[in-house]
Amino acid sequence: MSSMLKKAAVVSIPTVRQALLRSNPLLANALLAKRAYNSKGGVEMTVRDALNSALEEEMTADEKVYLMGEEVGQYNGAYKVSKGLLDKFGPKRVIDTPITESGFCGLAVGSAFAGLKPVCEFMTWNFAMQAIDQIVNSAAKTHYMSGGNVDCPITFRGPNGAAAGVAAQHSQCFAAWYGSVPGLKVVSPWNSEDAKGLLKAAIRDPNPVVVLENELMYGVSFPMSEAALSKDFVIEIGKAKIEKEGTDVTIVAHSRSVGFALEAAYLLEKEGICKAEVINLRSIRPLDVDTIIKSVKKTNRLVTVEGGWPQYGVGSEICAQIMESEAFDHLDAPVVRVTGADVPTPYANNLEAYAFPDTEVIARVVKRTLHKQIGAK
């Protein structure tokens, strides 16, 4: 990625909220109205600040934790997630790297082999494709290949999925890519509590963990519970969260799509159409299929939502696992995937809007599912 593009991405930060408002007024309004989708609490925090506090707390707790990546130090982070950390921890532990993903990712993995606990930031996950060999072949496999003789306690993190108006090379979800790799754990937070609890869990985990954040969520505020404000707060990797209880259909989503799914669920409920249960996956690998199965047994219908491409995606995997589980016998309608379109992300606003799931698409699909019955007529 050229430095010009990187700058452009940074300039867009203050406008994230406006962009959100423009591209998705329904969600933005819902969030601004502070509807109680998540834990109740008096304090609001942006996802960005939640990530920042997770980093700060874990670096304070353990000298071996350090942060490395492009612009994480003097620049305060391309998306300001690492703001203030250089001042607090100094250049030994907050390290600006050259723009060489393969090299600094490999270096971070090597330092994990040798006893440190690196947090390796990718300015966005798109650039980590330069380093995917080090993540998959070096980080994920060495513990197994060495018969358990080498550990790799590393966290890879950065914004994933589509941002606003940055076109094809900067708008891609990697959940399915990393989610397929044994040896990795993969988490995908949606709100501020998720972001803080999952990042802290990732840093403490003695295995390589991929943290897929979302740029468009960085500036969004959510209430934080008292518990989530504690430095001891962690969210167990591998457990999904039921964000909204329901009886008629289950909607499973991760990352930014959780917000759209909730919005659609509330909309449908308000219209008296159905009571949808919304599951926030939180973890891509391990996948908490037990929670989905339990929900499907109750609702008998399932819709998956993600920003990634349809083929071989998170939704595809959920479908397959449901087919192979006892939940299959409880389905009253075929599972439907709502995904990003099978298209490289276009730049133009109207075309881009057509590329990713939003509240309207989810509501439409849920309605359709409610009328479907299994069995040929």
């Binding site: 050259p98 490999g106 270096l107 006893g115 003789n149 044994p182």
Partner: protein, 391 residues
């Protein structure tokens, strides 16, 4: 992590894979028996640094042990060759026959605190870094007694101060820079040596590692084992500049006669001193030669002549070279060397039998070590839904 490394070391030692390091380090009382040998004046070529001294001072016992290590290593690789041809070793198998002086000369200049990482031609380094012959051969055979429990094979062997054994050409170089980064971070007065071949030297990430190592003055030494061919591609067909020791640009470098174990020792001692004293990274180019093919499936004769191989064997062999040195200097007698040769054969033969006697890994091991024990995912799927493991 430090404590877990200790556990890992203890665990490995308990499995008797590791020869106690004391066996390979000489007692200080031996200093009295130190001898001085002169290297050939063409042993080194420099780039932005001074050459190491041509006078090598080593205890007699150490010199004899160098010979012994090289002989054992060659025997071990000959045994691997035989086991492969007997179809007892699967997949890829890359032998270091001809290149023994590099691993052996490095080891005598380093301590257990120093770390080494290399690519897939790793049997010799694993042995020098404490892996027992039985554990190496058993790994090749895919047995329970293998150094990686039979899960890694020829290309993936590790000891507490050796980070493998890596199969992706060039990827080990930034990993090694990371090990050096950790040494500096933890204030260790030690260095990490990252080895790669002339083929890997053109990988972009090698230069990325150079850059960061110099930028941050890491105690990293980059060691190019130039055996003249990356698989079947001659160095001058892959590299615009075959002076590999000069390719660090802003990093000084040293070309070393990698067929002379004493020159290797001297260069590595120099490099360690250089980088641990805070001067930053250094490049070493070891000019060496592999007698065999790239791997067992390569006869090694389509891209080079038999005469060339024969010439190297006759005139540059590292074992013969040291043998002559030791005899000329009256450090050992011909009979003593013969006894070492014989003992090496016996030792390796015994290890072959031990390795063969080891059973294959338990099927239950299939599911272990994907994640660190106690932090696994809840369950792992096998080939079909009813084949799975719950932790």
């Amino acid at each position: 992590m430090l404590s877990s490394q200790k556990i890992s070391l203890a665990k490995v030692a308990a499995r008797a894979f590791i020869t106690p390091l004391t066996v390979r380090t000489f007692a200080s009382s031996a200093v009295a028996r130190t001898v001085s040998l002169d290297l050939h004046k063409n042993s080194f070529e420099t780039y932005n640094c001074d050459a190491p001294s041509l006078e090598v001072k080593l205890p007699k016992e150490e010199l004899v042990r160098m010979y012994q290590s090289m002989v054992v290593m060659r025997r071990m690789e000959m045994a691997s060759d035989g086991l492969y041809k007997a179809k007892l070793i699967r997949g890829f198998c890359h032998l270091c026959t001809g290149q023994e002086a590099v691993a052996v000369g490095m080891e005598t200049a380093l301590t257990a605190e120093d770390k080494i990482i290399t690519a897939y031609r790793c049997h010799g380094f694993t042995y020098m870094r404490g892996g027992s012959i039985t554990s190496i051969l058993a790994e090749l055979l895919g047995r329970k007694a293998g150094i990686s429990g039979g899960k890694g094979g020829s290309m993936h062997m590790f000891t507490p101060n050796f980070y493998g054994g890596n199969g992706i050409v060039g990827a080990q170089v930034p990993l090694g820079a990371g090990v050096a980064f950790a040494q500096k971070y933890l204030d260790k007065k030690a260095a990490t040596f990252s080895l790669y071949g002339d083929g890997a030297s053109n990988q972009g990430q090698v230069f990325e590692a150079y850059n960061m190592a110099k930028l941050w003055d890491l105690p990293a030494v980059f060691v190019c084992e130039n055996n003249r061919y990356g698989m079947g591609t001659a160095a001058n067909r892959s590299s615009a500049n075959t002076s590999y020791f000069k390719r660090g640009d802003y990093i000084p470098g040293l070309k070393v006669n990698g067929m002379d174990v004493l020159a290797v020792h001297q260069a590595v001692a120099y490099a360690k001193e250089w980088t641990v004293s805070g001067k930053g990274p250094l490049l070493l180019e070891m000019e060496t030669y592999r007698y065999g093919g790239h791997s067992m499936s390569d006869p090694g004769t389509t891209y080079r002549t038999r005469e060339e191989i024969q010439h190297m064997r006759s005139n540059n062999d590292p074992i013969t070279g040291l043998k002559q040195r030791l005899l000329e200097s009256n450090i050992v007698t011909e009979d003593e060397l013969k006894a070492i040769d014989k003992a090496a054969r016996v030792e390796v033969d015994k290890a072959v039998e031990e390795a063969k006697a080891s059973p294959e890994p338990e099927i239950s091991e299939f599911w272990t070590q994907i994640y660190k024990k106690g932090t696994e995912v809840p369950y792992v799927r096998g080939r079909e839904p009813e084949e799975f493991h719950r932790y």
